[in-house]
């Protein structure tokens, strides 16, 4: 008894001094809740073995491993003081660019027309996912130093920092990730004090760049078709609108309360292509209905809100900018992904954070939320 009391007492005393006592449990709890839902929906979308005839729980098992790894990474990102990460930022960013360069060499492997991953045994690593994290880190670090002075030279420097990774991502080509990076850059610059007209010009360059990429054939034809399908949803180009039609049908089939878990015909019969990855939201929409999909959006809203709140409350500007980067990344990915399944955004290959099947995306999303929790709990120190 005495020993137990002692142990508890010790633990309390350690918690009392650790920044962990200020851990944002609402943020972490919401993220974990979303992940649990994600696992259930991945199982639902793949249990009939229609994606690869690999057994009912193949994708579930793999994703459980990713989530466990992700929670570990999040723990690491929480525990290591983010100020130390600031010092590591250039090194992390350098490694990222190296990996992005290597992946488009024959060392990388190609799927669905884009050269975006390293196949390491059964696991595929996507450097472009990690690029999001390291760009947030390096830009926050740089802009925090040059706060309010982001015209001219420093703006050019920012662009020079981003250009190699952005360019390499575009070469894969992975337009979705490039867009996420673009939005993150704009958001960090905006909060760091860049001039409105500079931001407008940058946004314009970004949009022009995307349009040029579409028109100059940088993208594969199927990517262009997918991208533009949402503009002509009644079009009869069967192959391109098919994905979108099936996706909207699945969500619409959910109604208010959904068809019931594992009971959605679109979901269980595999009518929605890529449903366990980019189109996972359709499984939620069909089987859990407006109630379930709405709840998921509320959970996402809480995660974004807690991150935004942390940006506001951070006791240093580097922390604020880190959180802004994460907020921009999460909000844009959620909007783009959920929006594309509902036909209000173009179809690009952007995963839904914490929901879509995929290791790299999960690890990076966890790491980013870890950064936010890190900033949040150290704001008192």
């Amino acid at each position: 008894m005495a020993g137990l009391t002692n142990v508890l007492g010790e633990r309390r005393s350690r918690l009392d001094t650790s920044p962990l006592r200020h851990l944002d449990l609402v943020l972490v709890g919401s993220v974990l809740a979303i992940n649990v839902l994600g696992l259930v929906m991945i199982y639902s979308a793949t249990r009939n073995g229609l994606v690869g005839d690999t057994g009912a729980t193949y994708y579930l098992q793999r994703q459980v491993i990713f989530v466990v790894l992700g929670v570990g990474i999040m723990a690491g990102a929480i525990l290591i003081d983010y100020h130390r990460m600031r010092e590591w930022a250039p090194a992390i960013y350098g490694v990222t660019i190296l990996m992005l360069a290597l992946v488009i060499t024959p060392l990388g492997s190609s799927t669905l027309g884009s050269q975006a991953r390293f196949a390491v045994g059964p696991i595929a690593i996507q450097p472009s996912e990690f690029a999001k994290f390291s760009i947030i880190l390096i830009l926050a670090a740089y802009c925090a130093v040059h706060r309010g002075d982001l015209g001219g030279r420093h703006l050019v420097t920012v662009l020079a920092i981003v250009a190699p990774s952005l360019g390499l991502v575009m070469l894969q080509p992975d337009l979705g990730t490039a867009l996420v990076i673009g939005v993150v850059v704009l958001a960090i610059l905006a909060v760091a004090g860049a001039k409105g007209r500079h931001l407008a010009v940058l946004a314009l360059i970004g949009i022009t760049g995307a349009v040029v990429a579409v028109n100059l054939g940088v993208l594969k034809p199927y990517q262009v078709d997918r991208l533009t399908a949402f503009l002509d949803q009644n079009g009869d180009q069967q192959r391109t609108t098919y994905n979108l039609e099936q996706s909207k049908t699945a969500i619409g089939n959910g109604g208010v309360t959904g068809q019931g878990l594992f009971k959605g015909s679109q979901t269980s019969l595999g009518h929605v292509p890529e449903q366990h990855t980019d189109f996972i939201f359709t499984a939620v929409g069909e089987e859990l209905g407006f109630v379930g999909a709405g709840l998921l959006l509320v959970l996402f809203g809480i995660v974004v809100w807690r991150s935004w709140r942390t940006a506001v409350l951070s006791n240093d500007f580097f922390g604020t900018l880190l959180c802004v980067g994460v907020v921009a990344m999460l909000a844009f990915q959620i909007f783009e992904n959920v929006g594309m399944t509902m036909g209000i955004m173009p179809i690009t290959g952007i995963p839904l954070p914490f929901m879509s099947y995929g290791g790299s995306s999960a690890l990076v999303s966890f790491a980013c939320v870890g950064l936010v929790a890190n900033v949040s709990m150290r704001r008192f120190s």
Partner: protein
Amino acid sequence: MTETRLRLSIVGVVIVAVFAAMFARLWYLQIAAGSQYVAAAASNSYRTVPEPPLRGRVLDAKGRVLADDRIANVVTVDRRISEDERDLVVGRLAELLAVPAATLRERLADQRVSPYQPVPVALDAPIEALTYVTEHAEDFPGVKAQPMAVRRYPNGTVAAHVIGYTGEINAEELEGAPASERYALGDDIGKSGVEQTYERVLRGRPGRYEYEVDAAGRVLRTAKRVRAIPGRDVQLTIDLDIQRVAEQALAEGLASARLQRDIVDKAKFTTLRASAGSAVVIDTTDGSVVALASNPTFDPNAFTNGIPTAIWRALNDPANHYPLLNRVVSGQYAPGSTFKLISGLAGLRAGLVTANSTIDDQGKYKISDQVFTNDGAEVNGRISLQRAMTVSSDVYFYTIGGSLWPKQRRGEAGGDIIQETARLYGFGRATGIDLPNEAGGRVPDAQWKQRIHDARPDAFPYPDWLPGDNVQLAVGQGDMLATPLQLAMAFQAFVADGRLATPRLVSRILDADGRVVRTVPAVDAGRVPVPARDTLLAGFAGVVGAEGGTAKGAFASYPQQPPAVGGKTGTAQVAGKQNTSLFVGFTPLQNPRYVVAVVAEEAGYGAETAAPIARAIFEALNGLPVAPVTAIPPAGGN
């Protein structure tokens, strides 16, 4: 710091707007427009595959099979495959099935088969070929090897016009069929004959499998199965033995007639064309059709699983005289002297003649400046009704027709007693036999003549019913038209002492186990007057057996002398064509059991072609040896 707060607030506002947009869209898709997507999802996940029922058989009166389904190994090709795939598939199939590639291409290009339905390219393919195709599916895109029910007509052309044939349902038939029958593109449907009229009985009810499928079309499970109900067997009144004799006699008679000179064409030597003909045998007890033959004919087997284009063209080529046409019910002919039954009955009913009265036949009949003569201006002298029938005196019947004209012109009652009698005996309307496309014939009268004149004054310049019209009508010429079946049924009513019948083609409906589901009763169609029946019967007997009878020569070879057969020859003139040869008769003489009507187009005198054909049929009906049919050169008389 306030600057940063402001900028962060802007970011916050953007995020709130973005989430609001997602909620709005989610609400729209799931709640506002939800039902539309629910319907789309439902139709997405089920496939209904129809299971065609086994079609019922067609049997003859003694239960012999005239049509049934057999299971054949069929290779089909889906026409939606690409051009490249088509070339590939045609090449490989040609080699595998040892069929010329051109033939396969032709089958694939057949426009009469629905483009959504696999085209059968090979019936009864060897089992090795089927196995090969199944095991090398990736080398044969769109190709399927499967057992299929194929309609079979084991007797070939025999009774083709009665049985008819089946074929793939066309758009028009699909639209016309009631929804409850659940026809789908690609289904077979009866296209003619009993196959068409008894379609509902023969077809059965299609079943269906409802499969739950995934996006790739793979079947996950059978959600529902509705078993197909096999069609029922239809037993005909046709006797296959008599049918065969009738068809052979008809074919022989026509072939033989083609070697005969058309003596009407005095200017030059012309042979008879004898292009087509028909024969029908009626059982007088209940109106059952014992045999029904039409020539030229066709093989209904050619239609199973898509008739080759070349054969289809041949069947529809006018030069081949439309083999698909059933001339017994669809052919309309001037009945010629066979109509004297009706004008004789009319004369008796009107009191113009009696069984014992006579008319002086001097070979000519004159009415209002028009002169009508017997064939060859033959003079018969003073003759009774019986003799007039035997020698086929035109003058006798001209006199009846001519005598009625004044009354008719004045519109008095009884003036149109020939027409009235004709209608009583079934002319001028379809008999109601269970066969498609039955023609009604025509009984011309004053109103009809006025009507067609009003409709087309240029083609029909005379609106008035003239004396000549009545005189012509009395000998079955002019505008009178009858089908061979109408002629047979009129004689049936006469020999059955006035019992009108509706021709009966189907006697029973049987289920798959041979149990009788329904017996089709004879239809009593009422009674008609038969004055001086014995006198007329004697006259008809004389046609075949008495000295001077018009068909005496045709029946000279009949094994029984005098033959227990009575009848009437007919030779009808047709504008622009050679004479139609007709014979309608019955056997035996006492209480006749069978009526036989034979009509041969462009085949000369009634005694020349039709009577010898009928003679062979009578031999068969009486169980006598059937001698080959040869045309009898005309010795005069019509």
